[in-house]
């Protein structure tokens, strides 16, 4: 067996340093830099949601046109990369369950997009709140002149939080939803009534 080649040690260490710089350096720098975050936002009727790291506030969304339900409130719209999340209280003193909210929201959404297909609905409990969620794929048009049609992947989460009907809608360009699903789960779990 050949003796350990000390002459090759330096170039090998140089390559190792480059790899470490790219991987460990990236992880360390990412951890060091503070992530912009919208923090905790009221989405209406005293219901709050805490934005995950990297999600920034785009706007306080208008309730107009998003719900015909009595008592709807302005919500918030967050963005991370090319994914957006809109959260809103669509009804106060709500007596129904999360599946009923989902049914209403889906019927509205069906009229707002060119084409939409849903996956299976799942009913569960999130942080003690009744919740129903579903994945969808929709063909939507952009805004402004010359807007183009495009396909988006999305997720709808409907919850009943202390008697408030809450809707969280996530959308991302086709294939990109997977990159934010963990964030969405984490944010949905923070939805609670603060008063």
């Amino acid at each position: 067996m050949r003796m350990f080649d000390r002459a090759r040690l330096r170039p090998t260490l140089a390559v190792a340093a480059v790899i470490a710089g790219v991987v460990a350096g990236g992880l360390a720098l990412d951890g060091f830099l503070p992530a912009p975050s919208a923090g905790t936002q009221e989405i209406g009727a005293g219901v709050t949601m805490t934005a995950a790291s990297g999600w920034v506030l785009v706007s306080k969304a208008s309730a107009e046109g998003t719900s015909s339900d009595r008592g709807s409130s302005p919500g918030v719209e967050l963005q991370k990369g090319d994914a957006t999340l809109a959260a809103q209280v669509v009804g106060r003193d709500y007596g129904g369950d999360s599946q009923a909210i989902m049914s209403q929201v889906r019927s509205q959404l069906d009229t707002q997009v060119a084409q939409i297909s849903y996956g299976d609905e799942h009913r569960t409990t999130i942080s003690g709140n009744d919740a129903t969620y579903v994945l969808f794929e929709a063909i939507v048009s952009g805004s402004g002149d010359g807007a183009q049609l495009g396909t988006v992947d999305g997720e709808l989460v409907c919850m009943v939080v202390s008697g408030n009907a809450v809707v969280v809608e996530v959308a991302a360009p086709q294939g990109d939803l997977q990159f934010v699903t963990d964030d969405v789960s984490a944010m949905v779990a923070t939805v609670r009534a603060s008063r």
Binding site: L9, T12, V22, Q178
Partner: protein, 429 residues
Amino acid sequence: MNAGRPDGDRGLPNEPLADGSTAAAAQPAALGLPSASQEALHWGRQASPIAPGEPAFWLYLVLLAIGAYFFVDQQSLMSALPDAYLLSWFLVLVYAVPVALVVYRLDLFEREPKLLLAAAVIWGAVIATSLASQANSAWLDIVGKLAPPDFAAQWGKAIVGPGVEETLKLAGVAVLYLIASEEFDGPMDGFVYGAMVGLGFTVVEDVSYFINAVAAAPGAVDQAGPVIDTFIIRVVGGGLYGHVLFTGLTGTGFAYLVTRRGASRLRRAGALGCVAAGVAAHVVWNAPLMESLLRTADGTNPTTFQWIEYGTVKGAPFLLLLAVLVVFATRSEESVFREIVAGETDTDVITEPEIRSLRSLVARRSARNRARRLLGPAGGKLVGRLQAAQVEYAMVRSRSDSPASPQVEHQRQRIREIRSRLEALPRRP
């Protein structure tokens, strides 16, 4: 007598070429390359990646252990969708095996050791993909933190993907060079190892894209549909322009830099340009450019033709560049081959027309086809064996101290035997 020589005339190894030069005189200098002698010294040695004497071997092992941990974790997660998982691996192998064979066979004169090629594929498939999956998300986060959201959304992947992935893949080529530098004789070797690293990377990345498409599809009842749709986009539309191309380019540039240390500054700058071109090809591929080619009137998914058109517009210029580089690298290797066989006086071993017929896959195939026409299927097969034996002869000759060594003589004998069997075949009327 010439029945077994489909090339007809039996030229001497140094007989004049059409342009008046001689076979051995067609030196790489004409191409701006250094003397072939240095390369010839290394030909014929088959290095192993198992080299405990090399520090890079231990670096490879450590990174393989880290990469394997993440790789196994990822694969077991993806196998939760068994139908999609098996279909994905089947489809990527249908693509990868022919590509591997083409890359391997493009290295016409000095085929690389299979174990070292396997190490290259494993680097790309296990080490580079695993490390990249960690680093990509970290760097994308960093871009998201530092750049405006819209810019990060549009250009993040075009900046981070090439930066992280090309660095990690090229590091694999560098590690292989440090383990077995005697296998790196010229740019062609960098192309082969780079392409193999890229192939390993693309196979694993494609499988993860296929499975993610299934997981993201609403309902996810049909596991095959999203896999096939993504296969059409990534492999049918862009298979020629992916990681094999990117790392083929960077590897070619790297190998030129490390094997042609005496080259002029301009040529070394050109080699750096190759590395930059590999990265640029990846940037262009990931960038949100020419998206209009994918638009449809009704907003539905683009057609297969649109994907092919989109891939071609973005990737074909770089593929063309790589093709040109491979042609030049092959000519360089041909010169080395000529130098090695130049002293052979026995014209039963190799002739000038036969050398010419070895210079490309097309030329080799056409020589075999000629033999098949003249002598039947057995003739075609024997010419194939003759070509392989002649290439092997150069390898044996280059690693032998003397042209009269028993190993060289043994190889000559093998060639003579094949030739006599060829000559014994009856000509077709």
